[in-house]
Symmetry: D2
Subunit: 287 residues, 4 copies
């Protein structure tokens, strides 16, 4: 699908008769053609309804505002919807946060360059200097915001100034600092984190060490939206790898790194393609 | 969803504007509520469009014919659709074909008893007597139709008489005879087969022996619709397991048996839930 | 390998020079030929050493005692080993505990009949009557030992009398009662349990409900040895399946049942093939 | 294990009594301590025996030749073994061949830099200029050897001159030219290739296109040693990913790229760790 005049509409409302008919008729009347559509109902009786619709309409990019006003009046308000629309010709802007590990960061940057992630990445924020050279080689700003226990509030304020409200998504690519509720609130965008365990197992610190101690036969990684409660946000994607008694913490860390970067990349891509909706503390992902 | 007055509509037509609006409006006007809907387009420009819609409508079971006549007139014919509708209160009837291996057959029978497969299973046809006792214990007819090279045509004619046009689906649960094009044509129902390799690798006889010889590190199983060309029908589902140099043919066969029964059960369930559409030599599966 | 005159030797001791040479020379001098051997060291410097050796020796079954006396004197005691030897011509005896769910129980019984599990299964103990008919049809004793909060101690005493010290392994095939430390001690055999989550996630009750609430994208099952601490025993095997937002608790339970029976069957088979050694709270599994 | 004075011994011979005892006693007598050992027999009666032994011996690096002479005399020749020994303090040298795709090449280079691949990589040969900048940034020689149908023999001769017999392993990281039997013979080292399908399915050109046409539900990648017969060499590792009807060739290619780089990296690492032995047209891999 050509990116011009294409859009993705995500809606959520209480389930009721006639939603699909109203929405598809609206798009039809505005010269749109539905390229792809998916829906989910938490419960056919009194549940919550979710729908993702990709469509194209000639000249849509020139009449975005009129389209949205009409949609609000004829569909959004009558059905009491929460909704948002993304236009394919305006790629979202993404900021990455990292620390010392390079695997997730480099993988995201590589995927964006080869066109796998429909977004612009203009900024890497890190509490260490280690990855500056690799990032700057790609022409991306690298801002060092050191964090210590005492300077955390200041550091977060500095990071917010750097972000400057310019971004649509923040991705924590193995960023090893816990963000305060105040930062999360002030950032005002979704934040995706990668945790190196199959949550809810091994939430918190040192999951590979604890996986080794417990003697699990599978390890995993979890990409989730960041909320105030550590490692408890809505899960977007998880994956695992088999391990054995012969794998020490170093081997788990090496095997896990491959899962982390795959899981994070999938989660970020799905988010950027408007495939993820949050419902209470869970996600609906339209693959 | 209550099974009464519920139905599943599967459609396929060339992609064109307004299909979703027309279909959802039609269901809405016939007092139906869409419980679930999924669609696929092979190509947004001039491709083929597929859609699966689960819906409920009060009293639908009493007005099936009127509903179908109206749908044909107002939606089916205007859009040039192929379509079929299944009513949840009328479970499909399934006949199983088996030979000597019990794993796929017993697994399907056990899943049907525990309510995992929305169908009735009334008949097992086998070219051997081995599994008669286990099948008859469950109160299911077991008909022995021996097959030899010389008697194959007669045996197939006998099997057709036993089937007597009463079934909606035939499942080959490791049935070790190749069905003739004439039988496939005369049976007049979809036929699902389980092949013990990840097709197209190791089509034909003795896949585990050949997997061992080739030294593959994964083995698999494939459930597909039977067509005239052996092991070349549209694939519904596949899965695999890792193996090593230490696995001899006996070990591959044992590991493979677990994959076979899982893959076949998934394929049969998806078919029975009207999730599978055939397009040329491939399937669209709405999970 | 013919089962007669074949054996499997499992050893564990602190790592030190010369273990493999001593053990292999000993077997060689007693006319044995090693068919398979695997070893593991937790740490090359001061770690614990584990080894599994399958071997055959002509007439071994007639000279078991002499072999063991000599091994203890020449290898076991000099190296301070814990060791045990299993003779293939004496299959272990297994008792199964179940409640109302049939999937794990029937799967184990079916695998034993088809020769996948090298053991004898003579007894099923259950706190319910539901599965009696299916078990007795196979000629296996089914003993109903009802358990209530008040009668738990009596019920466990009754179960111990039924077991009568005749068994080498107890398998809890979705047995829904928690065994007391006293029972575990008195039973005197390894006990394998299947838990319907990927431990340590969702230890305790209702893991599928909690998995649904947390919104995980993978569910799993864990086979482990039973210890006094609930769901904290050494893990033998785990596996997982992908799920989505569309899977309700019923779907998770159905998908999970397939993983449970596969994971439990693998764990039981590996235990019966003497592939599992316990080290502190973990297992070494020689696949 | 410290790399100094550590080595890995790989042997293969017809199965016979006393091999393990002889080998472990030999190492013991030369002051060696076995850190890890694994073995495999294709058939306990008259099969082929394979064994991998990691060991350390004080001063081994200074007495390599004496050790090897003694081993040949006391173990290698008496048992008719093929054997080779690798010393951990001498990392193997690896040359990479690539074309235009960067994913496998960059992934191997990144893994080598972070210490996952015990080898030196000094050279990238490519029939295109595309990847020169990224490779040279890492300080690695990049030699462009263009190939056309007419110049193939000359190009291979040029590549051989560049290699100059300095390498222990050649890895084809999505190198899109078929090597002639003469080149394979003259190179004189193992050559590992990554093929973008689960062989033997879709051997030859355009596997993703053919996977899409056949409608498979899983795609895969295969790492194998290169032999004269295209895509038929001994398989070292394979892995797969699930796909659906919605995945077009572009999506299959993207999903497949992640499998390709994981599978190739595992195969190369296992080869470099001396875990892979070839037996006729298959591999024994000691994980």
């Amino acid at each position: 699908m050509s990116r011009t005049d294409s859009a993705c509409l995500l809606i959520s409302c209480s389930d009721q008769e006639g939603i699909v008919a109203a929405l598809s008729t609206f798009i039809r009347r505005h010269d749109g053609n539905i390229a792809s559509s998916a829906q989910h109902t938490t419960d056919p009786e009194g549940g919550q309804f979710f729908m993702r619709t990709e469509f194209a309409a000639p000249g849509l990019d020139e009449r975005r505002e009129a389209f949205e006003v009409a949609f609000r009046e004829h569909v959004g308000e009558p059905f009491g919807m929460e909704w948002r629309i993304s236009y394919r010709s305006t790629p979202p802007r993404v900021a990455l946060f990292a620390s010392r590990y390079d695997h997730c960061l480099l993988d995201l940057l590589w995927r964006q360059r080869r066109g796998e992630l429909p977004c612009e990445i203009d900024l890497v924020v890190s509490n260490h200097e280690d990855l500056r050279a690799e990032v700057e080689l790609l022409g991306i700003d690298y801002v060092h915001v050191p964090v210590s226990r005492e300077t955390k509030a200041d550091a977060e304020a500095q990071a917010l100034r750097v972000l400057d409200g310019r971004f649509d998504l923040i991705v924590l690519a193995r960023y090893m600092q816990i963000l305060s509720p105040e930062f999360i609130e002030a950032a005002g965008t979704p934040i995706i984190n990668i945790h190196h365990s199959f949550l809810p197992a091994f939430a918190g610190a040192n999951p590979y060490e604890r996986a080794r101690e417990r003697g699990v036969k599978i390890i995993g990684a979890t990409a989730h939206y960041v909320t105030e409660e550590l490692d408890a946000g809505p899960i977007i994607e998880q994956d695992i790898a088999r391990v054995t008694h012969a794998d020490d913490v170093e081997a788990l860390t090496r095997t896990g790194a491959d899962i982390e970067r795959l899981v994070l990349a999938r989660a970020v891509r799905w988010h950027l393609e408007d495939r993820v909706l949050v419902h209470v503390c869970r996600t609906v992902v339209f693959y």
